[in-house]
């Protein structure tokens, strides 16, 4: 038994060194106050969303209730791990929100009566990619840190974005054409990975509930590892035309899937021809009608 203690210690040391060697330059070293050392700046890995899948700000009535219904289960009790906040809409923001008729959440509407971009398999964009996923296998998010760039891959829609970490500055809003995922740069502030973005296509929504934004929106994401397997994300948008003040999301929690690399990727594309058939024949009730 006496020989096992140094063996474990050596093992942990090896794991720690390997972890450090695979990540972006840290400068902070491994955490020493927890039982398992980990590198705060190693974000690479495949994660599963653990916190509630509701809305950008976690107000009641979101996608996980629908998911539970589809599975024939009672919705899981909400963890309420964070304060929730209703959107501080301006009058224009409220009007834009009212025009967005989603296929999910508390304002869920049949596809034929709504205008959710999902119904056309349009890109979710950022930040819906972060907020719109439902509980279950759709919800994986994979991060890959490389020199100068961090890639973020969302399994649902099989889409990815690039966060530039090569030191470049964000362009001015009037210098860029809006894009689905905007323009993003990231840098470390202590052990928090801070991503700042702008230049978003205003056809996308913040989440499944149809929160709108303009092409003047600026987004800040803050990623922080709470332990070796837990990733925290909070978002803040600044979009004065639609929101009267900076609007902060709830606290999103992601768990590392330790065997995430073992399985095959699911390749959950949104396929327009399949989506249209499903909506027409099933959700809109047309299976028995002449086609």
């Amino acid at each position: 038994m006496a020989m096992r203690v140094p063996g474990v210690a050596i093992g942990l040391l090896i794991i720690s060194v390997i972890g450090l060697s695979q990540t972006a330059p840290s400068g902070t070293g491994a955490h020493t106050k927890t039982a398992t050392p980990f590198d705060h700046r190693n974000l690479t890995g495949k994660y599963h969303r653990e916190s509630e899948f509701q809305t950008y700000s976690n107000v009641p009535g979101g996608a996980n209730e629908l998911q539970a219904f589809l599975l024939g289960q009672a919705p899981a009790p909400r963890k309420l791990n964070v304060p929730t906040e209703e959107a501080p809409f301006t009058a224009a923001g409220q009007a834009a929100f009212d025009k967005n008729i989603p296929s999910y959440g508390r304002r869920i509407t049949e596809p034929k009566l709504g205008n959710d971009p999902q119904g056309m398999c349009d890109p979710w964009g950022v930040p819906r990619m972060l907020n719109g996923q439902v509980a279950g296998p759709h919800s994986t998010l994979e991060l890959l840190q490389t020199p100068g760039r961090t890639f973020m891959f969302s399994e649902w829609h099989h889409d990815y974005r690039v966060i530039y970490t090569d030191g470049r500055k964000l362009p001015a809003l009037d210098e860029v054409e809006p894009r689905w995922n905007g323009y993003s740069v990231g840098q470390w502030e202590g052990n928090t990975f801070v991503v700042k973005s702008l230049g978003f296509d205003e056809r996308t929504w913040l989440d499944h509930n149809g929160y709108p934004h303009t092409d003047q929106m600026q987004l800040e994401e803050r990623y922080r590892k709470l332990d070796a397997d837990t990733l925290e994300l909070t978002e803040t948008i600044t979009d004065p035309q639609y929101y009267s003040r900076p609007f902060k999301s709830d606290r999103k929690i992601w768990k590392l899937i330790k065997d995430g690399a073992k399985g095959w990727d699911e390749q959950i594309y949104c396929v327009p021809s399949e989506e249209f058939k499903f909506n027409k024949l099933i959700r809109d009730g047309g299976a028995g009608k002449p086609q």
């Binding site: 589809l70 279950g136 959950i268 949104c270 099933i282 028995g288």
Partner: protein, 140 residues
């Protein structure tokens, strides 16, 4: 007059099927989650596609009239996981006998439902991740 009588008969039949089964709670924009119906028919298509697999089948009513029905399953990725639990996208084929228990669509007259229990050629199939069918069903 004859058409009105047939319509009345059809509505009465639907009521007879649905009302006794009102037991569950829950809400949805698409389905009557508090009602279940049981249908028996013949598979015309099994579409294992995004975002939810769909089963299409024909049901004959008492007069011999064929109705085209469609039903949906849980999200496709979950159903893909179910493949590991004993069935595959080939487990349901055109011409198979199907008995399905499901929640009917909210739209009056829509022959669409949400699958809750499924029996193909006499064998139950598990529908949710991790669930096992009532009767063992080895992958064919």
């Amino acid at each position: 007059m004859k058409r009105q009588c047939l319509l009345l008969f059809a509505c009465w039949t639907v009521l007879l099927i649905c009302v006794p089964a009102m037991a569950h709670h829950g809400t949805s924009v698409t389905y009557e989650t508090g009602k279940t119906i049981t249908l028996t028919g013949t598979v015309t298509e099994f579409s294992f596609s995004y975002p939810h697999p769909q089963l299409y089948f024909d049901v004959k009513d008492a007069t011999g009239t064929v109705q085209h029905w469609g039903s949906e399953f849980g999200p496709t990725p979950l159903m893909m996981k179910n493949m590991n639990a004993g069935w595959s996208r080939d487990s349901i084929k055109r011409g198979d006998a199907v008995t399905i228990t499901c929640n009917p669509h909210k739209t009056p007259g829509a022959t669409v439902c949400l699958t809750k229990e499924l029996i193909i050629n006499g064998k139950p199939l598990a529908l949710t991740a991790g669930a096992q069918p009532a009767v063992g069903n080895k992958k064919e």
